[in-house]
């Protein structure tokens, strides 16, 4: 009887709600109006492209691990937050970006997608499994972090008793994902891509890819995400992507990330099936994976000091002790197969040897945040997981822990965002720009960066409309130099600081090449820098200094530059060598998120914890291939 009373009170509530409206007829009318709606915005197109900012890699409570980490907010909040609105984070703190993003990819793990909401409501598939019951118990008892590690470890080891690609479980969740993206996608204003993350890891080695569709719900809804359970081998993911394109006429691409946690697998010479990388593999990888997520919360993956001993900026927030679940320590020989720069070098070696480059990728950054909040600003960082949203002692939380060691939360970095040069802010234009690699990645700061390569750029091109000159006389980042029409190529680079971040220390061109004997070379050229610093005899510009005030987390932009630009010619060009060139922009030192924690919450941080950082941008390369 008591339940009847409760049901009745439910009816009463509902009743008060509906009686304010006029019922079904009105609803139909409203739908009609919606259909006939005049568009809020004509989509304006800029042939010289504008830069659009976004996060291609955000998790919500639909992701199994995010849920276990305690995330209780979903896709609505994720989109609203990206749009610049205030939302309430899982821990109850109000959260808002200082500037909205232009696009977002909610990329929840396909394996076990939606399993967690099932765990919470105690319903559906997951509660029929012994693990589900165990995790539920752990979470209820407040041991969410342990539950998460249990999930990740068993998932990685393939020791779960159930399948994580159960169609019955996935379909309704995928439909929700697609519908949410359709709801928030607003051509010309904000792009909500349809996507997911394929979460392969083999023996704890990370091979994850974010999969992004160019298409709308009509094509994508019927194609369930591919899972690790289907196969942990990326070649099968690519087959699935090809199948999608054949069946629907749509387009899809994949973006790998965290080579630094792959223990040598991400850009390996050997395929998962044990065979060496060959032409057909290279072709397929080149086609399916035009971009690499070079920086994110779990480490920066552009370069490593062991691989680039002459690059004094290579030692930057690398995570290089272990694989993803800390089950195997890293050895030095693994590094060259993990970092973007060495992969680009190995790629052009394949180009020379077999005429095709499997690692011909452009760069983006993204957060991989599991909080539903795409934060990459150090002064507004909501952490990797809901358990480490802003609080006094979050820096010391263990992030990954095993008997071999611990990665602490203070090692996470507030990074990064994806910058895309596109005609307009639509799914189609942004996707096409990503497919042609006209993108760059930053560690969160919104540095504006143009980069063109050609054969006859000169200083005058910098004076007038440089973008027009760039496209007229050359190719943008992500492109291939045309056949030589001069002795050496010239590159035009333009960087403007983020008005809300640090000014610019220097702009560098990073070159990689293959020598005649097949050995590989690399060199970092300082090409433009702030102030009147003089380049030394080794071609290095001295440090810009550091004026961060550690007491109040402020700094002065006086030592850096607002704009840096240069037409740079390669002094060591050899027309017979395969080569690539990309730009790295370095900001002056600014407070790291840990310093804000110290100043705001009185966090107690030992000397092992860095308090300042140098934000940076990494452009997609421009390649040169001898004919």
């Amino acid at each position: 009887m008591k339940s009847l009373i409760n049901t009745l009170s439910l009816v009463v509530v509902l009743f008060t709600f509906v009686s304010c409206g006029d019922g079904k007829k009105e609803k139909e009318k409203a739908t009609e109006t919606t259909k006939e709606k005049v568009s809020e915005n004509e989509v304006k197109s800029n042939v010289l492209n504008d830069v659009y900012w976004g996060d291609t890699h955000l998790h919500t409570d639909l992701s199994l691990d995010a849920g276990a980490f305690g995330n209780r907010i979903g896709m609505d909040e994720a989109y609203r937050f990206a749009l610049g609105q205030e939302v309430t984070a899982t821990t109850g703190i109000k959260a808002k970006l200082s500037r909205p993003l232009d696009f977002l990819v909610i990329a929840d793990h396909s394996d076990g997608m939606g399993l967690f909401p099932g765990l919470l409501t105690g319903s559906g598939f997951i509660m029929t499994t012994p693990e589900g019951k165990r995790w539920k118990k752990m979470i209820d008892e407040g041991n969410a972090a342990e539950a998460t590690m249990d999930i990740i470890t068993n998932f990685g080891a393939g020791t779960l008793s159930f399948k994580t690609n159960d169609k019955e479980m996935m379909r309704p969740v995928w439909e929700k994902v697609v519908e949410a993206a359709e709801k928030y996608n607003n051509p010309g204003k904000f792009t909500a891509f349809i996507g997911y993350e394929w979460t392969s890891f083999i023996k704890g080695n990370n091979l994850h890819r974010v999969v992004i569709y160019r298409d709308n719900g009509d094509k994508t809804k019927g194609h369930l995400p591919y899972t690790k359970e289907d196969s942990p081998d990326p070649e099968y993911l690519w087959k699935n992507m090809a199948m999608y394109e054949e069946n629907t006429g749509g387009q899809v691409l994949a973006i790998p990330h965290n080579g630094n946690l792959s223990n040598g697998l991400m850009f390996a010479e050997t395929r998962i099936n044990g065979e060496p990388v060959d032409e057909s593999y290279a072709k397929e990888r080149f086609k399916r994976e035009p971009l690499y997520e070079v920086t994110q919360i779990k480490g920066d993956g552009e370069a490593h000091p062991y691989l680039s001993p002459n690059d004094e900026f290579a030692d930057f927030e690398n995570w290089d002790r272990t694989n993803l679940d800390y089950s195997q320590l890293k050895t030095k020989d693994m590094l060259q197969y993990e970092y973007a720069r060495s992969a680009l070098k190995n790629g052009i070696k394949y180009q020379k040897e077999m005429g095709i480059n499997p690692f011909k990728f452009g760069m983006i950054g993204s957060t991989d945040s599991h909080t539903s909040l795409a934060t990459a600003d150090d002064n507004n960082f909501f952490g990797k997981t809901s358990g480490v949203e802003p609080s006094k002692d979050r820096a010391h939380h263990p992030f990954i822990k095993s008997k071999l060691g611990t990665i602490h939360n203070y090692e996470t970095l507030a990074s990064g965002y994806a910058a895309v040069w596109a005609k307009s802010n639509t799914r189609e234009d942004l996707y096409d720009a990503m497919a042609r690699k006209e993108t760059y990645g930053t560690t969160g700061s919104r540095i504006k960066l143009r980069f063109f390569g050609g054969w006859d750029f000169n200083e005058a091109d910098l004076k007038e409309n440089h973008a027009q000159a760039g496209y007229d006389k050359g190719v943008p980042m992500g492109g291939d130099l045309t056949a030589p029409s001069a002795d050496v190529p010239s590159f035009m680079v333009y960087a403007i600081m983020d008005p809300e971040s640090g000014s610019l220390d220097r702009v560098q061109v990073v070159k990689g090449w293959v020598n005649e004997d097949g050995s590989l070379g690399e060199k970092v050229y300082d090409v433009a820098w702030s102030g009147d610093r003089k380049m030394d005899e080794n071609g290095k510009v001295p440090s810009v200094g550091n004026n961060v005030n550690l007491e109040d987390a402020t700094w002065s932009n006086d030592i850096g530059a607002v704009e840096l630009s240069k037409v740079w010619k390669d002094p060591n060009f050899d027309a017979t060598q395969e080569a690539f060139y990309y730009v790295r922009v370095i900001e002056i030192p600014t407070p790291r998120w840990t310093l804000y924690d110290k100043v705001r919450f009185g966090a107690e941080l030992g000397p092992e914890i860095k308090l300042t950082t140098t934000e940076r941008a990494y452009s997609s390369p421009i390649w040169y291939t001898p004919k």
């Binding site: 009847l4 008060t16 009686s19 019922g23 109006t33 709606k37 919470l120 539920k136």
Partner: protein, 279 residues
Amino acid sequence: MKKILREPLLHFLLIGVLLFAVYGAVNTEQNENEILIDDNLISELAAKWELKRNRQPSLQELKGLIEQYVEQEVLYQEALAMNLDHNDEIVKRRLAQKMEFISDGLAESLQPSEEMLINYYEVNKENYKKPSVYTLQQVYFSNDNRTNALDDAKSALITKNPEALGDHTSLALEYTNTDAIKIARDLGSIFTTALETLPMGEWTGPIISGLGIHIVYISERKPAGYFTFNEVAEKVNVDYNYKASNDFKKELITSLLKNYAIIVKLDDEELKRELNEKF
């Protein structure tokens, strides 16, 4: 009231309540120590198996499934009989979450009328503001090149040809019929916020943008204004539903709470007062 009685959703709900009552009545007549194994159950068990493993279970596997089912049912019934569900933290939480789930579903099924949407739009009009559109020129004074860019900009303002006094930059120096969103993309939102109140038809400023110092000549400013309801109807619908489903959950709890007396017995006077006020 008549209108309310014709409301189809009400009918639906009343039928639901009726069914619930009937089900409860029927259920009590059923022998509580009975576990039914029928064809429906077997095909359900077989179907679940098939979904997981992509093949039909063998007869032996099926027998195993039935055995598991019976075991689970017996334990479940016994647990209920022993009141194990009562006051169990896990069960409590799960049931509460199931209720929330139901409330989410109900909230989703309540589509707003156009009148409600228009009303929402009017109340929240600030969220549907258009960006202003400008035609302007700017002169830029870079901190990179000058010891005191701000003073230089100020002095330029009182000369006849400030255009000639600025620095070369890759920032755009002219905008024609361009909306504030695009300008903010180039020069930051501090710059566009300043534009809103600066006078037109004269060199004015300076604006300190974070990129440097700017003085501007605004020839035209088409004020922001608002998108019409029809232009943003879809967006209003999304916003309305987001708010409605949150409100609905709150309202549901508040209304259910009316059936309960919350008794606060605490030593901490302050907390006691706070909680008493809250409930």
